[in-house]
């Protein structure tokens, strides 16, 4: 006696034969559907992995960074500000930071130059990120040329190149001594880029920030929570590029669904008429159309997700590289730690597989409820 499972299997056999009869149409449909899922799933994987990495790394950033503002712009902060902040109750440590940007006119790249507070290089030496080394084609022990503020050349020897694994943080970084930093930029004495503030009790951060703003009204305290929020809103779906990619993918999907939902072809309508006339019930026809839709959408979803994972985590999001590089000459070549967010994938599943399957069933239901004679004649 045939069971319900056998009935489903028989109908699935018939649905697959039906799909294979229109092989090229359905194959192209499957390919484009897979491509849409691939693009959206790639974005999900990339953004999730990047946000997770940013969150894990930047929880170790300074508790607060205090910048001085002048005429609405970031300005150098004097040492006296450091002493005032230090005197506020609850403040642990205040460390002045010296960092800035250097545009290399020869290689056309921007570097971030920083004087480390712990173990800075000896004057005349630099530690560089692997992105800088790749850009300039230099190795440890080579000499790196800079142009100082007065256009005199400053030659510094590469003491160390940061490992490739840290490229997400250090690709464009050049660490140098305070003496060389001053020789390069000639900053006013006892002035720094900003101050890194450590607070003993993290719950007092907001209070201390407001005290700093009160006592030093021309400063802007940036809390660690704000740094983390910045990276949380990175690649936000409202962002320019994201909305373009997502809108393209969603519009393409809507065209599919619209094509399906606006009706069946005369051939499909005739097929339903024949099936009804040889004894198929409306429920059987609907089941047939459900399996046709499910076969295409399920295959497209699974293939799209698998390909997206391979693209992001095995090929370092190669297809997104041009969009991410923009006009920059120095681009970090990092490989993200893979992460699969089940919730995001479930949302993608419900937004791609279910609407398509539903869009397949609705016109079939309309045709299946018609009289077989009129379905054949139409």
């Amino acid at each position: 006696m045939p069971t319900s499972l056998d009935r489903h299997r028989n109908i699935l056999d018939f649905a697959l034969s039906s799909l294979l009869r229109r092989k090229w149409k359905n194959l192209s449909l499957l390919m484009i559907y897979t491509l849409i899922v691939f693009v959206i799933a790639s974005l999900i994987f990339f953004v999730q992995a990047l946000k997770l990495e940013a969150g894990l790394l930047l929880t170790n950033a300074p508790d607060m960074v205090v910048q001085r503002m002048a005429a609405g712009r970031h300005d150098l902060i004097p040492l006296s500000y450091m002493e005032k902040i230090q005197s506020i109750r609850g403040v642990g440590e205040v460390v002045p930071r010296l960092w800035g940007y250097y545009f290399d006119p020869v290689f056309g790249a921007n570097y971030t130059l920083q004087v480390p507070n712990i173990d800075p290089p000896e004057p005349g030496n630099v530690m560089i990120g692997s992105g800088v080394a790749r850009n300039q084609r230099i190795a440890s022990g080579d000499v790196m040329a800079f142009r100082a503020h007065d256009r005199t050349p400053l030659l510094l020897q590469v003491e160390k190149i940061f490992s490739h694994e840290s490229e997400l943080l250090t690709a464009d970084l050049v660490l140098l001594s305070e003496t060389d930093f001053q020789a390069l930029f000639n900053l006013p004495k006892l002035r720094f880029t900003d101050l890194a503030v450590t607070v003993a009790n993290p719950r007092e951060l907001v209070t201390i920030a407001s005290k700093i703003s009160e006592q030093l009204p021309d400063t802007r305290p940036i809390l660690k929570s704000e740094i983390l929020r910045t990276y949380d809103s990175l690649f936000d779906w409202r962002g320019g590029m994201m909305i373009v990619v997502l809108a393209g993918a969603v519009l393409a999907f809507l065209i599919f669904a619209w094509d399906k939902a606006t009706g069946l072809s005369a051939e499909e309508r005739k097929e339903i008429g024949i099936l009804k006339s040889i004894g198929w019930e409306t429920a059987d026809v609907l089941l047939l159309k459900f399996w046709e839709g499910a076969a295409i959408s399920l295959t497209a979803f699974l293939s799209g997700v698998v390909l997206a994972y391979i693209h992001i985590f095995f090929f370092s999001a190669g297809l997104f590289e041009h969009a991410l590089t923009g006009w920059s000459v120095l681009y970090p070549q990092f490989r993200l730690r893979p992460v699969i967010d089940g919730y995001q994938l479930a949302v993608l599943f419900f937004l791609s597989v279910l609407p398509y399957t539903a869009a397949t069933i609705v016109p079939a239901w309309m045709a299946a409820t018609m009289d077989p004679d009129s379905a054949l004649r139409s």
Partner: protein, 93 residues
């Protein structure tokens, strides 16, 4: 072989690959722990505030430190000049 059997095999194959990829991601999290700790150490030691994602402009290189008050050039979400600026939105206050 029945067509439905072929379809089931295809779905099972895809699901097996997905399970393998899930295991791969879990394994990579553990295997990459040493490199991750190295990066955490760098952030602490150098007091870093930003990831090096886009080097083309200072407000995309250090979005967390970007000047939020100057219009037209210097903050994320301003009239855009650099392509990567469209990927960085202002932080939610």
């Amino acid at each position: 072989m029945r067509k439905s059997t072929g379809f089931y095999l295809l779905i099972v194959f895809h699901l097996a690959v997905l399970i393998f990829l899930y295991l791969h991601s879990s394994h990579s999290q553990i295997a990459g722990q040493a490199a991750h700790q190295h990066r955490v150490g760098l952030v602490k030691e150098l007091g870093l505030t930003d990831l090096c994602l886009f080097t083309e402009a200072r407000y995309t290189r250090h979005p967390a430190m970007a000047d939020l008050h100057a219009p037209f050039q210097d903050h994320p979400g301003a009239f855009e000049h650099f392509p990567s600026g469209s990927l960085v939105t202002p932080p939610i206050r």
